[in-house]
């Protein structure tokens, strides 16, 4: 594996692990999600350089568009949670807890 691939692969894995082992705040999980999307953007930008296909440079820009949508929705959930419970602590989401 080339070093460039190793770099964004390990950044993606780290962020995915950070999302899996989240602790107190919802926004920490959202930040890990953003970090995953950042590493995906860099990976998708490096790919057309290696294959020399200019038309594939559309894909990271499109991914960024939809990640902006997802970040906005995640922050709206954060705001809704704070307005309901007073904080964004993850132990507040216990409505479906058995």
């Amino acid at each position: 594996m080339s070093f460039l691939h190793l770099s964004f692969y390990s950044a993606f894995t780290l962020s995915a692990l950070g999302l899996a082992f989240h602790r107190t705040h919802l926004i920490s999980a959202l930040l890990c999600l953003e970090s995953m999307i950042l590493s995906m953007y860099v990976a998708l930008t490096i790919w057309p350089i290696h294959t020399q296909t200019p038309s594939s440079t559309i894909i990271p820009i499109l991914i960024l568009t939809f990640s902006a949508c997802e970040a906005g929705t995640g922050l709206a959930l954060l705001v809704a949670s704070t307005r309901t419970h007073g904080s964004d602590h993850l132990h507040n989401f216990n409505l479906l807890q058995c």
């Binding site: 894995t13 953003e34 820009i61």
Partner: protein, 172 residues
């Protein structure tokens, strides 16, 4: 030049580690800013400066700014900074995972190689400019789909935070 790429990619990984060790959100955003700045510099050093510009304007200047002022909703009275034992534990543990993965995967065959972004002088337009311009010609459908998704998200966010017995996640 290759050392500069290695330096930037090392900061990319370290920024990811800073976010993943889940400190107080104030400090997690710092890690994300470092990672995206390093990613932008990395893309510039590879030659695709337009993609780097898009990243810095939309991601760093749009989304991260919104995240930064949204962490004010997540304020802690006693924030866990970098010297907290829980953050250090997570950071060391996740760093060990990455290092074990690198060692098991084999580090010696990982070395960056040089590529060109203008087909070694054949193209008139650089790779990223020519590619992103296709958004307006052949990729017009994708452009419209992206715009429609953004418009839809606006209404989704409006409904989520409307509140007063008609929004989502209300306990009262």
């Amino acid at each position: 030049m290759m050392n500069f790429v290695l330096f930037l990619s090392a900061f990319f990984i370290l920024g990811g580690l800073a976010v993943a060790s889940n400190p107080s959100p104030y400090y997690g955003v710092v890690g994300l800013v470092v990672a995206s700045a390093a990613g932008c510099g990395w893309l510039v050093s590879l030659g695709v400066s337009f993609m780097s510009l898009v990243l810095v304007m939309v991601y760093l200047g749009g989304m991260l700014v919104v995240f930064v002022y949204s962490v004010s909703l997540a304020a802690d009275p006693y924030p866990e900074a970098w010297n907290d034992w829980r953050v250090i534990g997570y950071g060391v543990g996740l760093g060990l995972v990455v290092i074990v993965g690198i060692v098991l995967g084999g580090l010696l065959e990982c070395w960056p190689g040089g590529v060109s972004v203008n087909n070694a002088g054949v193209s008139w337009v650089r790779l990223d400019f020519g590619g992103a311009a296709m958004f307006y010609s052949w990729g017009a459908g994708l452009f419209l789909v992206g715009g429609w998704g953004l418009l839809l998200t606006l209404f989704v966010v409006l409904e989520l935070v409307r509140g007063l017995s008609r929004g989502a996640i209300r306990a009262v």
